[in-house]
């Protein structure tokens, strides 16, 4: 039957368009109203500074060290935190995948996600503080002479990002690892490859595309850190992250235009990093991590 014999409805159906397609409408409206429109609004707003030309906000941002150093400060926290989470997640997931009852462990790991960053930060303030249990124990056993400073500095924020970010990174990694057909590793073993070689030559190459996505998502989560940078860090000094700069501009200086400009720069850095990570995917095999037609 040639295409001319088909009704419009049939032709649309051939292209995957039918009544079910209408179900995307609420989603599209939602994205348009709550994501696309505010983004464009913010972008335009950032070009209407209180003083200076169209690029006044951006010129101001990159001429004041207090502002432009927030990008590097955030990166210095977010990149290592993402890397640590990833490096911890892969071996743990490799082990958990072999467990018969991983439920309990995953439940324990999910708790920090449900508690939220503020509550974790409050808990850490008490636990890691100068009079907290950790320092008391260390002092009691005379392992340290004076309390170890783990809060109100870089390490406090880093620790909180690891604690709240790890479960997320881990669960994503676990789902990618369990997606690899176990018979591939068995085949590797039968061919004489030991655990280390099986990991580097079989598991990791198949895992790499998934890890790139996991890294991208974990990085975005870490890069937008705000509550723990304020509560656990030194928001005037080394942990003055970019989201603090945006908050200050918007709600302390009431300069929404400047705040939009900071938000746009924040988005730009994220897009660059994510694009870089996803471009690495292209270097690896990406297809189903199973084998055969079974």
């Amino acid at each position: 039957m040639s295409a001319a014999n088909l009704t419009l409805r049939q032709r649309l159906h051939e292209r995957g368009l039918d009544g079910v397609t209408l179900l995307v409408v609420p989603g599209v409206l939602f994205v348009l109203a709550l994501f696309i429109y505010p983004s464009i609004y913010g972008l335009l707003l950032s070009f209407e500074p209180k003083e200076g030309g169209v690029f006044g906000n951006y010129i101001k941002f990159f001429s004041e060290p207090f502002l432009y150093t927030t990008i590097t400060k955030t990166l210095v926290i977010a990149i290592p935190a993402t890397a640590i989470n990833m490096i911890l997640s892969v071996p743990v997931a490799m082990r958990v995948r072999l467990m018969k009852h991983p439920r309990l462990l995953t439940t324990i790991l999910v708790i920090p996600i449900t508690l939220g960053t503020v509550m974790v930060a409050e808990g850490m303030l008490t636990y890691l503080g100068p009079r907290g249990w950790l320092n008391r124990t260390l002092m009691f056993f005379a392992l340290v002479d004076e309390p170890v400073r783990l809060i109100h500095n870089y390490w406090g924020v880093m620790l909180s990002l690891v604690i709240t970010g790890f479960p997320f990174t881990f669960l994503l990694t676990l789902s990618y690892i369990t997606g690899i057909d176990p018979s591939l590793e068995q085949a590797g073993a039968m061919l004489g490859a030991r655990a280390r070689m099986r990991f580097w030559r079989i598991i990791l190459p198949l895992l790499a595309p998934g890890l790139a996505i996991t890294l991208a998502l974990s990085f975005v989560a870490a890069f937008t850190v705000y509550p723990s940078a304020v509560l656990l860090g030194a928001p005037a000094g080394p942990t003055r992250v970019i989201s603090i700069a945006a908050y200050t501009a918007a709600f302390e200086e009431y300069d929404y235009s400047m705040a939009s400009a900071v938000a746009m720069l924040m988005a730009a850095v994220q897009v660059i990093v994510v694009a870089f990570l996803l471009s690495l995917r292209g270097l690896f095999f990406h297809g189903p991590a199973s084998s055969g037609k079974g």
Binding site: D181, A189, M190, G192, A193, L206, G287, S290, S291
Partner: protein, 355 residues
Amino acid sequence: MAIVSRDFRELRLEGVGRAFGQLNALQDITLTVKRGEFVALVGPSGCGKSTTLNCIAGLLQLTDGSIWLDDRRIDQTGPEDRGFGMVFQNYALFPHMSVRRNIGFGLATQHRPKDEIAKRVDEALALVRLESQAEKLPGQLSGGQQQRVAIARAVVVEPPLVLMDEPLSNLDAKLRLEMRAEIRRIHTMLACSTIYVTHDQEEALSLADRIVVLIDGKMRQVGTPEQLYMAPANRDVAEFMGYRNHVKTTARPVEGGIAVTMCGAAMLGTVPHTAGYETVQGAAMAAIRPDDLHPEADGPLAARVEIAEYHGRDFYCVGKAEDGTDLYFRSPRRVAPGEVVRLNADPSRVLVFAT
């Protein structure tokens, strides 16, 4: 330099058992496989044949018994150090490596020189007739080609023993016949020993030198294909080997064999004694292959035809006897559902088991 399997005398399983919690998946498997032998492990699903294979491979630990390669005990050795080749049911080809790298993987783990690897991979590719596909990824190959790559990858390291776990079950019928011949050819060429797991008795009969029938984790019979086909040791094995009809009979020993009465009617002739069978008397069970049961004018078994399938030369039919027993038979002439036919079998093709 052709690919020839490493020399060894025999593989011995001594009282091998494997339990999963309370469940005994495998009990007391004792078997010796000589060099060059092709042994098929057969049995219905869940009988423990794949478990046996995984135990030999080292992918599964034993809970009982031991495994020996000549004088070396290997059941405590990991799969990496046993040096056996294995062909998986789903082929388990590395999807991110080309055919060439897949086949060369086992040689690379042995840190062989690059030119030697290249040369041996070429030989293995020639062995499975895939020279032109060397640079493709497994995903670009057909099922049959993937199967050949899996075989080449397993044999290129010249293993003394090749283990195959239902390697043909994912292929279509025509390809299965082709690959069957191919597997036998490669086995002969390498002079290796092959242990082949299948649930298809026809495949086992055509490939193996010896067949091991496993049922419920126990070895029920070991023998040549002829022995298993003609003289299964018990009812379960008979059923698995294609004796689909089980007819209640009364047996009476007579001169030269057993006279059996089926469904009240005396069967024509006397079932001869088969070596190894005990004499059966009284209530018994006659096992008959569908191929051996056919309509005959004065046959002792009356059956109402329920299904008649056209298979070219013959009709394969299902009928019901007067006492409700299902009867599977072959008819050279057309029979219609609902028709009552009288069936008979050559007494020498009938087995009688005590119940």
